[in-house]
């Protein structure tokens, strides 16, 4: 919007992918029957006490390291007090004055501004609340406490984003990093990644921040952009109409793509944070942090650069291949199994990703098999077309590429006599085109080659076919 600058900061909650919950041994898995993954601790029964999950802490530290944060040797759990039926203890165990980590950053590619570095103000560990289901029963709210106590990290950025598009790009990069290091599946639809955004606008050139609102209830990456755009436009309209923006919480409604203020009664919270007396301060030794650092895989940005340098790929190809860790590892597997790097990139970006898309992201053809297949095409044993057919067979039924190619009868025929037979057949059937070719329309060569391939059911070596065709047509 001309004359205005948008300023956005994000608070992102990410569920950690652990077997059990943050403070008890209950399963943290998604999707079980309501209230089956519960025990005295996560139900908040009288007398129950929390005991931290070491795996969750490792995940949190790895996430903080991947975001370049300073990990604090000592951090303190704190209680965030508020009443809600899906909060069994009446408080959430979180961290407040002394979080696990601070001062990190994440560089991402912004659509308008190129590479932008967002500051990570803090990253802390906490437990999730249960889930209130307001539409399950008429005139009653149902509470499912399976989610209560699932480990979360909260990642808070500075007011570093200048547009909704940019905010989305940051989030996608964040998701990519967290998926890479294996700490979360970051699925917004399942709620394993949730976003609250602080939004304000100011006149272009102003240095002071405008009054901000907090936008909540954003449930997908697409809605991030929409919700923030709607709120930005609303604030600009208010200010241009001579009004002032009120600091408040706005809820996004994706059904009509609008934001509405949360009822003020529900937001006037004083959380009365204080140090959690049931848990000693979290003390992390330098050895522990170093071990987590050593367990971090190569992160997406450096992997992308390495793919460019090591495999001679264009930036764009490297970006596609490193978008997810599974595909990147798969690509390298294909290359290590002997495939030529650029050909392997084309196959993975083409056939492999298309097949994966139709099959729940499964990479169905083993990297070694694909490398063999690429070798067969490269060496002329299979045409590219035949190679695709073999790939489909490999994906659906598995097996050895050459055996499949033989079974399909698509091994390229390099016997000049056989090819000459198909050439005669084609030339005989297309006398008119032969005349035109001889009259100077040499671009009809492609047509003849195509007809030979068709006649041979793809088996003819196209180069050989062309050679024979040229001989016959010029003689």
């Amino acid at each position: 919007m001309p004359g205005w600058e948008t300023v956005i900061g994000l608070e992102t909650h990410v569920q950690l992918r652990t077997v059990s919950k943050m403070f008890c041994g209950c399963s943290a898995a998604f999707g079980a029957a309501p209230n089956t993954h519960v025990c005295p601790v996560c139900l908040g029964l009288p007398g129950a006490l929390p005991a931290p999950n070491g795996e969750a802490l490792k995940h949190a530290v790895r996430a903080a390291l991947a975001l370049g944060c300073t990990i604090h040797a000592k951090s303190v759990f704190a209680r965030k007090n508020y009443f809600y039926p899906d909060l069994p203890k009446g408080y959430q165990i979180s961290q407040f004055e002394q979080p696990l980590a601070t001062k990190g950053s994440l560089t991402f590619l912004a659509p308008e501004r190129g590479l932008v570095t967002a500051t990570i103000v803090r990253l802390h560990v906490e437990e999730d609340a249960g889930k209130s289901l307001h539409d399950r029963f008429p005139k009653a709210t149902a509470v499912d406490l399976n989610r209560a106590g699932v480990p979360l990290i909260e990642i808070v950025t500075g007011p570093d984003f200048r547009s909704p598009q940019e905010t989305r790009a940051y989030l996608q990069t964040l998701k990519q990093v967290l998926e890479y290091i294996g700490v979360s599946d970051c699925d917004m639809e399942k709620g394993s990644l949730r976003v609250d955004a602080n939004v304000s606008v100011r006149r272009a050139g102003d240095s002071a921040l405008g009054v901000k609102t907090e936008v909540k209830n954003i449930n997908s990456f697409a809605f991030v952009e929409k919700a923030l755009g709607v709120e930005r436009d609303r604030q600009i309209a208010v200010l241009e109409g001579g009004g002032t923006v009120t600091q408040q919480t706005m809820l996004y409604d994706n059904k009509d793509n609008a934001v509405r203020p949360q009822r003020s009664k529900e937001e006037s919270h004083d959380y009365r944070y204080f140090p959690e007396p049931d848990l000693p301060p979290l003390v992390l030794t330098p050895e522990f942090v170093a071990e987590q650092q050593s367990l971090l895989p190569e992160l997406p940005a450096s992997k992308r650069e390495r793919f460019v340098a090591q495999y001679g790929l264009p930036q764009q190809d490297a970006a596609v291949l490193t978008a997810g860790r599974a595909v990147a590892d798969y690509y390298e597997g294909v290359v290590h199994a002997g495939a030529e790097a650029k050909a392997a990139a084309n196959w993975v970006m083409g056939e492999v990703l298309a097949d994966a898309k139709d099959h729940t992201e499964a990479l169905r053809v083993p990297a070694g098999s694909l490398a063999q297949l690429i070798g067969l095409v490269k060496g002329g044993t299979l045409s590219h077309q035949a190679g695709k057919r073999v790939f489909t067979e490999l994906a659906n039924r598995g097996g050895d590429p050459r055996t499949i190619a033989e079974a399909l009868g698509v091994i390229q025929v390099v016997d000049p006599n056989a090819v000459a037979g198909w050439v005669s057949e084609v030339l005989g059937a297309h006398a008119t085109e032969v005349g035109r070719y001889k009259g100077g329309e040499t671009k009809l060569m492609a047509f003849f080659v195509g007809q030979v391939m068709k006649a041979s059911k793809g088996k003819a070596d196209p180069k050989l076919a062309q050679r024979v065709l040229e001989e016959r047509l010029t003689s």
Partner: protein, 455 residues
């Protein structure tokens, strides 16, 4: 089983004390079942132990003396209960207490006040008043109580029995319904130092379910010492103020004389921040309580108020009807001191003062004092109703006990005489995790002092 019947008979005989909350029929049935299942090899085999009603048990309801948990039955046993059972002890029912352990007289129970076994017009102390009264009346040799600011030692002193509060982290709190989590410890009451100590020994030790419980082996019981030779006992002057009840002072003086006769070296010490202990305590404990008691909202368990218009109203009604006046008062105070704008002035300052109080003790111990000796309470048991409408007067009856909770130190109250027929207790405060040393001194004092004679 006749043992079980005899145990139940003794408890039923003192029903007039209103010390036991468990119905007689249920008690008899459970004791018979437990006796049949008890492990004969356990060190407490067959020993009945009554349990304060804020400690979770599968076998009996756990109400914390509150209407808000009326009929509540825990699906799990507290770790201390599991340990008692493993040692062959029998859980001899649940004892009356001030609601959520908030009080010093057992008058703040939703199930009526408990009666002092010697003088029915007086209170047995609190909040573990039911446990103390049952032990004093001879109905059980030992009982579990809980301490946040003196709730084991004060009633032990009032009733003339022994009460031990262990070092914070010595005993698991898992299954103790939380009041002030950073202060709470399960404690033991007994007819004698030995009875209380052997129960404490059994319930002590590591528990992975409570990360504030130290990773230590159970407490090993010391032997009764020949003398107090080599012990240096400090008398903190702040615990013997000029206006101390003269009879209590006489009883303490006699106890000190007897300890000297046994070879103890006695010297006066100062704990200069003592005067701030009660105000500090009444910021920290209610702050934690306001949060700990938030879970009692009528949503998942316990009675739920009728006729609520929405969920806020449901909370208001359930908690308004379910909690008594003292609990509501402390929730309000605790909510206030944690509020934005007041936190620094109250809660943070109280934590700073708490650190200074703990440092006072370390300074005394660093100067060569092994143990401190003080009166347990400023007066013997007071009359029922006397302090009910004066909360501050009630709070001041814990003036000599709250410091050990704030500093996390072990302490024990031992009967040291009578005043007009009412028991008076003397208190040892020990060094962290040196319960054994404290118990040795308590054994020696117990042996030397004519506890049932006028001081």
């Amino acid at each position: 089983m006749s043992d079980a019947k005899a145990i139940a008979d003794r408890l039923v005989k003192v029903k007039r004390l209103n010390a036991l909350l468990t119905p007689v029929k249920e008690l008899r049935k459970s004791l018979a079942e437990q006796a049949a299942a008890a492990r004969p090899t356990g060190v407490l085999y067959g020993m009945p132990v009554a349990v304060k009603d804020n400690i979770c048990t599968i076998d009996f309801t756990t109400t914390c003396g509150s209407k808000i948990l009326e009929g509540y039955r825990s699906p799990y046993d507290a770790t201390v209960i599991t340990k008692l059972k493993a040692a062959g002890a029998l859980i001899a029912g649940k004892t009356n207490c001030d609601e959520f352990a908030m009080g010093s007289s057992t008058e703040h129970s939703a199930y009526g006040r408990s009666i002092h076994p010697i003088d029915k017009t007086r209170v047995p102390g609190g909040s573990s008043g039911g446990s103390a009264a049952l032990v004093a009346a001879g109905a059980v040799p030992a009982a579990l109580g809980s301490e946040t600011g003196g709730s084991v030692r004060q009633p032990a002193s009032f009733c003339g029995v022994v009460g031990i509060k262990p070092t914070y982290g010595r005993v698991s709190r898992y299954g103790l319904v939380a009041f002030g989590s950073s202060l709470d410890q399960v404690g033991a009451l007994g007819r004698s130092v030995h009875d209380a100590a052997r129960v404490l020994s059994v319930i002590s030790g590591r528990d992975p379910k409570d990360t504030t419980c130290e990773d230590r082996d159970p407490l090993r019981l010391p032997t009764v010492p020949e003398s107090l030779q080599g012990f240096v006992i400090g008398l903190p002057r702040e615990y013997f103020p000029p206006d101390l009840d003269p009879a209590v002072r006489r009883a303490c003086d006699r106890a000190v004389r007897l300890m000297k006769e046994q070879g103890a070296a006695v010297r006066e010490v100062s704990l200069p921040h003592t005067q701030y202990a009660v105000p500090t305590y009444y910021v920290i404990a209610p702050a934690e309580a306001s949060s700990n008691l938030a879970r009692f909202d009528g949503v998942r368990y316990g009675p739920r108020a009728e006729g609520a218009s929405d969920v806020r109203d449901l909370y208001r009604r359930t908690r308004g009807e379910g909690f008594g006046a003292e609990v509501r008062r402390r929730i309000l105070v605790g909510t206030y001191v944690l509020s934005a704008g007041y936190y620094d002035a109250y809660y943070r300052r109280a934590q700073q003062m708490r650190a200074l109080i703990a440092q006072d003790f370390r300074n005394a111990f660093d100067r060569g004092v092994d143990l401190l000796f003080t009166p347990t309470t400023p007066t013997p048991a007071f009359k029922a109703g006397e302090k009910l409408n004066d909360p501050v007067a009630m709070y001041l009856s814990d003036i000599f006990t709250v410091t050990a909770n704030l500093a996390g130190l072990p302490a024990i109250s031992v009967p040291i005489g009578r005043v007009k027929g009412l028991p008076v207790g003397g208190q040892f405060i020990g060094q962290a995790f040196l319960e054994d040393e404290m118990l040795e001194a308590a054994y020696a004092l117990e042996r030397a002092v004519p506890a049932t004679e006028e001081a």
